[in-house]
């Protein structure tokens, strides 16, 4: 804070402003110009810098203003941003940034503005410079231009090519005077196919079977194997994982207070199932953006579609952000960024604060799309101290839904009964209150239900007088403020609550008709914020003549929370006796102890209690409805205002909801006024007309199969991205993709059956070190999941169960409860299922994933980094997982045969997919010695897991 007096003083100065023009200019020259020069122009002049777009070296500069709009409103200091800034009264706008001006100088500038800001400096004009690419230029850029079906080029070696894909590749190889590499050996090919299509190594038997078939007819054998693998449920696990990288899939929010996403697995399963079922990719897009808005033929479809929208919800949201509007816009930004990179290869997020510096993406475009997500509900509410996502109820199929509905109908009826019973009780209680309205009798705190804090246990500030004058007190009397020292006295009750939850809070005071204050301010700080309640102490306390209810509030366990009574501004005696906290659902217990003398009330209380018990029981016994992380259209649908420089509170012009202008070919789809526009957005993205969507996806697929893309900046197809090595091939693939019904399996099939993909690994030619011609296969590192899944399959421990929740102990969490993080922090990774099911916690990851470049799961990652670091080596040499699995693998090896060499061959074939070379055999024999123990065999297996041929795929 800055003491108010300073500001008042400054304003007082300004009141004497002279109003004559000459006098004004004189004032400017003598007082203002030197001040501006000394204090402002270093950062706000053409000669030095123009920070925030604001120039103060010219009249036009401040008239036009900077990025936040006009800086000075002549004659209106209070409406001038310039004055707000120098006053330091707005924390977000303080200038000069380093040090507040002395009060006299502020007063001068205020006076100047008050005078109408006379300023003779009027030469020149101030224009904003355009930075990004114009729309027109942008539309000519390759990725924004419409996809064209290119002519297939002619090639010299017509026999080499198996299809058009090969012709595009070969034409460039031939043009460069190079040669394609020979075909990969069947042994290399079968490993490549298994790892690339299902992410698992082939067993020795599978290798043999393929080699045998390939010896007869290689193309036929390959085609057969490819079709088998594409039909395997493990295809979805491998390819779903690729998409999960794009979708920054995780099962907790990470960051500040990481929260467990207990339903996120439904999205993971949705992705795997969609790939296994070869759901057309355009539908896959629509479901993830607007699944909740699409018609669903069956409950199963509805479940899938709603679960799909978790794509928008499972980002690394900072639920703890205290400014919930800011949080809302942060969520929107994350959604746009993920959607932009994931589907369109665009860094839309850059335009949150300003027009994109390089790409034709304007801030208007950004807020046009932001309006769609601002009209979409992603957060459950905007009031919780720690916010949370929406857990959408899912429909069930057939009889289950009938049972659920029946159960829910029963629940609703019971809840209605309960409501009625409570109303009865209240009525009856009022009657009781009137009975006990006479001067009451003291009661001990222990005789009252709930948690009682007596005045004696409160934190007392200022002089409060103890009294027993009014007899209905609790404990040992009450206190009052002597009706003196207003504003100096407070009493604070700090409860120590045994568990988080909602509590009814009641204040006991000593009522008298005369002399009491009618406006006692009581402040309740609870988990969802702060509330002020004003109490009229000339009124009889409505509950038992002792208490008044302050309302029901949520509190954290032992968390920040208090009730503060102040005598500030009160107009009479303020009395405070005690505070009562009654846990929700327990409210009737509070009445329990009371007058059996009133049978009407007692009966009502009994009925309420019974209904509450019944309700609890019914909830527990009945079927529970599944929920999914999801979004929905908000009740309020509206366009949003531009946020100047991305600052939530600095609002500019309102922009109608819409899409990325540069990628629009025809009219933008109209967004109905009463809907968010997500459906139209999804349609626009999932359209064959969209120049980005199909290009980006076929390039991703290419990257996942070749290890490197046709465009290597897979998530960036903007002007700062790489231009494609084979632009026609991208368009060819994109066209084919749409022609074949957006089928991912067909796209994959076409690529892996190409001769290009089936080439052998070779040393890059000096003229093409990066292999941009794709004239041979690239040797590729096994990724983190392949390493883990292979180790587990070699050891025989891999469990191939499909789908489902895989976090032990996951359940509903209270975001505001401090124990909410425990599941993640205390988690022990122990299961041996495939890595795609390994809990994907953002703050506590599986160590193997961390070490082997699984990558950051906080943002879209179309291609993982490949690093070579000592911690990876240390992991393979010393980590208990590797040591234990090597031992299990050794047990299998020992069981496989009694013969040492046969055992070695088995170990090598299972681990590396090939028999040992003569040298390897010799080295291993020497290592094992005459009578190797299980432990020695375990060491041998562990060593194989660390070899180059294990870690690399040819």
């Amino acid at each position: 804070m800055f003491p108010r007096t300073t500001v008042l003083l400054a304003t007082a100065f300004a009141l004497n402003a002279p109003a004559f023009a000459d006098e004004g200019l004189d004032f400017f020259e003598k007082k203002v110009r030197p001040l501006l020069a000394e204090r402002c122009l270093d950062c706000h002049s053409e000669a030095k810098k123009v920070k925030g777009g604001l120039r103060l070296d010219l009249r036009e500069g401040w008239v036009k203003g900077g990025d936040s709009g006009p800086a000075i409103v002549p004659g209106e200091p209070d409406k001038s941003l310039f004055i707000t800034a120098i006053r330091y009264s707005d924390r977000d706008l303080q200038m000069p940034e380093k040090r507040k001006l002395p009060d006299e100088e502020i007063a001068i500038l205020e006076q100047w503005v008050k005078m109408g800001a006379p300023d003779p400096r009027t030469s020149g004009t101030v224009a904003k410079k355009q930075t990004g690419l114009s729309l027109e230029e942008g539309r000519k850029f390759w990725s924004y231009a419409p996809v064209q079906k290119p002519a297939v080029p002619a090639v010299k070696d017509a026999a080499w090519a198996r299809g058009d894909l090969d012709r595009f590749i070969l034409a460039k190889i031939e043009a460069a005077g190079a040669q394609p590499a020979p075909d990969a050996t069947p042994e290399a090919l079968v490993r490549r196919l298994y790892y690339d299509l299902v992410g698992l190594p082939p067993t020795p038997e599978q290798i043999d079977a393929f080699a045998k078939a390939a010896a007869v007819n290689r193309p036929q054998a390959t085609e057969k194997l490819v079709d088998e693998l594409l039909a395997s449920p493990h295809f979805g696990e491998r390819w779903g994982r690729h998409w999960l990288d794009v979708a920054r899939f995780a099962e907790s929010s990470g960051g500040g207070r990481t929260l467990l996403f207990k339903d996120a697995w439904r999205y993971r399963d949705y992705v795997i199932q969609s790939l296994n079922a070869d759901v057309p990719f355009d539908r896959f897009i629509r479901e993830q953006i607007a699944g909740d808005l699409l018609p669903a033929a069956t409950p199963e479809d509805a479940r899938r579609q709603v679960s799909a929208t978790a794509f928008l919800a499972l980002g690394p949201t900072n639920y703890e952000e205290q400014d919930k509007q800011q949080l809302r816009f942060d969520v929107i930004d994350e959604q746009l960024e993920t959607l932009g990179r994931g589907f369109l290869g665009q860094t839309i997020g850059c335009a949150r604060c300003h027009d994109h510096k390089f790409d034709p993406v304007s801030q208007r475009d950004y807020y046009a799309m932001a309006g769609i997500f601002a009209s979409t509900r992603t957060l459950f509410n905007y009031t919780d101290n720690v916010a949370r996502w929406i857990a959408a109820p899912l429909p069930a199929a057939g009889p289950n839904e009938v049972a659920l509905l029946a159960h829910e109908t029963k629940l609703a009826a019971l809840e209605k009964d309960l409501e009625g019973a409570k109303a009865e009780l209240t009525k009856a209680s009022k009657a009781v209150t009137e009975v006990t309205n006479k001067p009451g009798v003291p009661v001990a705190a222990g005789d009252l239900p709930g948690i009682i804090i007596d005045d004696a246990q409160a934190k007392i500030v200022g002089e409060w007088k103890h009294s027993k004058h009014v007899r209905s007190y609790i404990g040992d009397g009450y206190v009052h403020d002597l009706n003196q020292g207003k504003g100096e006295k407070t009493i604070t009750f700090t409860p120590s609550l045994p568990k988080a939850g909602r509590y009814e809070v009641r204040l006991a005071y000593a009522h008298l008709d005369g002399g009491r204050a009618t406006n006692v301010r009581v402040t309740v700080l609870h988990a969802d914020g702060e509330d002020n309640v004003f109490i009229d102490q000339t009124q009889v306390p409505p509950i038992d003549g002792r208490f008044v209810s302050l309302g029901k509030f949520r509190f954290e366990k032992d968390g920040a929370g208090y009730v503060l009574i102040t005598n500030d501004d009160s107009n009479g005696y303020v009395t405070v006796d005690a505070l009562q906290f009654i846990p929700e659902g327990d409210a009737t217990a509070a009445e329990e102890s009371r007058d059996a003398a009133n049978p009407q009330r007692a009966a009502a209380a009994k009925r309420v209690r019974k209904l509450e018990t019944d309700l609890k029981k019914l909830k527990k016994e009945g079927p529970a409805r599944d929920t999914a992380m999801a979004v929905r259209d908000d009740d309020q649908v509206a366009d949003v205002q531009i946020r100047v420089r991305g600052v939530e509170k600095q609002r500019g012009e309102t922009v109608p909801r819409g899409f990325l202008t540069v990628a629009l070919r025809n009219e933008a789809p109209a967004i109905p006024a009463n809907q968010s526009g997500r459906r139209e957005l999804a349609d626009w993205i999932a359209s064959a007309e969209n120049p980005l969507t199909t290009r980006v996806f076929v390039n991703r697929t290419w990257t996942w199969l070749f290890g490197t893309g046709l465009v290597r900046t897979v998530d960036n197809f903007g002007t700062t991205g790489e231009k494609p090595a084979h632009p026609e091939l991208i368009d060819h693939l994109a066209t084919r993709f749409v022609e074949q019904g957006w089928s991912v399996k067909r796209l994959v099939r076409e690529i892996v059956l190409s001769r290009t993909w089936q080439q052998a690994v070779a040393t890059p030619a000096a003229s093409d070190m990066d292999n941009r011609l794709f004239a041979h296969a690239n040797r590729r590192r096994l990724d983190a999941e392949q390493i883990r899944d292979t180790i587990l399959s070699v050891s025989g421990q891999l469990k191939l169960d499909l789908y489902g929740l895989n976090i032990g102990g996951a359940g509903d969490i209270d975001a505001n409860d401090f124990s909410a993080q425990n599941t993640e922090y205390a988690y022990v990774y122990a299961d041996t299922r495939r890595s795609v099911y390994t809990p994907a916690f953002r703050n506590k990851r599986l160590e193997l994933f961390e070490a082997f470049d699984f990558g950051d799961i906080n943002a879209t990652m179309g291609q993982r980094n490949v690093s070579t670091v000592a911690p990876q080596a240390l992991y393979l040499l010393n980590h208990s997982f590797v040591v234990e699995q090597a031992r299990a693998a050794a047990e299998r090896t020992l069981a496989s045969s009694d013969d040492g060499d046969a055992r070695l061959v088995s170990a090598f074939r299972r681990t590396l997919g090939r028999a040992p070379t003569a040298t390897e055999l010799a080295k291993c024999r020497r290592f094992l010695g005459a009578s190797a123990s299980l432990e020695t065999w375990a060491q041998l297996h562990q060593t194989l897991f660390a070899t180059l041929d294990f870690r690399y795929l040819d």
């Binding site: 920070k51 703890e320 205290q322 504003g487 906080n858 690093s867 070579t868 060593t943 180059l948 690399y952």
Partner: protein
Amino acid sequence: MNCSLHSRRSALQTLSCGFGALALAGITAQQQARAALPANPLAPRAPHFKPRAKRVIFLFMSGGVSHVDSFDHKPRLTADDGKMMDFADLRSLAKTGKSPQQRVMKPLWNFSQHGQSGAWASDLFPEMAQHMDDLCLIRSMHTEGIAHGPATLFLHTGTTTFIRPSMGAWVSYGLGTENENLPAFVSLSPALGNGGPRNYGNAFLPAIYQGTAMGRAGVPATEATIRNLKSPRSPEEAKRQFDLLRELNAEQLRAKPGESELEAVVNSYELAWRMQGAAPEVLDINGESPETLALYGIGEKETDNFGRQCLLARRMAESGVRFIQVNYADNSNNPAWDQHSNLKKHGEHAKAVDKPVAGLLADLKQRGLLDDTIVWWGGEFGRTPYAERNGTGRDHNPAGFSVWVAGGGFKRGVTYGETDEFGHHAVVDKVHMHDLHATILHALGLDHEKLTYRYAGRDFRLTDVYGHIVSDLFT
């Protein structure tokens, strides 16, 4: 953001990627990293200009130390103790747009002046107070984020929300390491919460720049070590096994000659093998003299744990680790220094860190290490000058707080900047967290505007488009 009037234009000038540069931009981050980095990406790299310091030890006080009870002397708090007054409470404003009156609360510790410099410090940290002549005390810090998570992330990564590399990762990227047997960036006993791994993460920088966590909050410092450093086998067995790996890899490499990446993998095993030998020695404090142990408070119940962490920090600094973070933290959502109530508890925490920190300063000084080591002490924010819940504690205060830096070319015995008369908002010579980042990078010879990494088509910096170097702090 507080720096909302900054222009992104100045940042753009440093991006050097106008259209002329687009042709060069066509490579992935990964390939760029490969191309731009030498064979060993952690090899020492020349800074942008002559550095004042070579390394950083950051003593992170998680939860927010109360500056008005420690280093920011505000007599008005005592004079107006108990009065209800208007303060712009940031949390209330963020949540409701309004701020109710607050009760001024006097410091619980007495302030006095210390040393030749006469710098003020309270008796909360009596041992550190003895070193006031060594410290460069900044009392005009301000930062972003009202809750711990956002503010802690901001302290470490320069953003409350976005996924960005941590400062230690940036420094490792900029300077490499002086000892390839050790990581370049170590975080000792980091917490899982309040940002967790993101506080030492590499985000989009190559993984090699990620901080290496040693131990974690809640686990005794005696157990803090580099993961997987110890072989589960006997030394002889381990050697025999490693020799087999060498032989098999040599054989497999022979079949695929000329692949530099495969050679790099082979080298990574050799490096790991050397680390297994060298690193434990650095991490073993048994050879330290009883005097040294006593200096850090090792062996005394209250100070043993943090003392060990500080001593490890010195040993790693000596051995060439570039960025060492020592965490006084726990895994809760109300981390160590977070005294919303019962401010007296600050005393317990102070007891735990005071002697070890003073010991570290004295030890670095006597070994001549303080000259090229920056010691940075502070938390993610400070605390309010008024009582939270009108009771016995203070709420978070990102608008004004104190940190100190020592050594590494920073002025000694200097107090810089001021908060208002209550210690609530920084008002004179304000230093934003971005500015502190820029200034520390500058001391290391790194220009915060040039230390960039191209990702998703843009050059990123630790300081985004902000940050001023506070050159007044340098000798």
